[in-house]
Assembly symmetry: C2
Homo-oligomer: 134 residues x 2
Amino acid sequence: MTEFTLDERLERDGIPIAPIGLCQMRLMNDRRWPWLILIPQRADVSEVFELTPLDQAMLTFETNMVAAALKKATGAEKINIGALGNIVRQLHVHVIARREGDLNWPGPVWGFGKAEPWPEGAHQAFAARILENF
Amino acid sequence: MTEFTLDERLERDGIPIAPIGLCQMRLMNDRRWPWLILIPQRADVSEVFELTPLDQAMLTFETNMVAAALKKATGAEKINIGALGNIVRQLHVHVIARREGDLNWPGPVWGFGKAEPWPEGAHQAFAARILENF
């Protein structure tokens, strides 16, 4: 059995916030949108349907908990949830807060422009706000 | 209690395939990618976390069943799953088959170019292939 190790690109592009059960929760290091990523800590899985039924239920529960917290913390108009994985094959779920008029609204965030890293200090405050809304 | 009625834009952009439990399954009328849409038949819901816990579990089950069938039917490299709703607020989940080199690969399909309607006859054959793989 292979052990779970975080994909290098996911490691590089995000900032760890907290383990929340099945998943690691990370913040995308891109302040253009409030953008969280959940990575189920299971090896060799790239599609949600490859998880066991219990893990699928856990992932749904955790995704929706995070989505609700992100909505409360940001007052977002709409939460975008996506599992794409065309570039990084390790299963990961995007949870993004969107509002009318934000960058590329109403289009998707993926592949748009260039990431703007969070300034030091700001991302910790944002992460704390998310966790308060769990 | 409001009754569920399908959003007009979802009605216009897709072709009905089958009811599959909680959701209606439709085919996007865009042959550029094999692209299915699931719409939970619940009124006034725009975020997955607004569904009851049971409906959330049903939606997960149905999404993953459809994603697995789409992968088998198409031999896709990667399935993209997304619940965005920036334009159409009625909750709907996209399930899309992607392959290296398809249009806008590895970027997302949403908002890219212009839909190419399925020719008459072809979408029925495609829908039958999906249902065979359930």
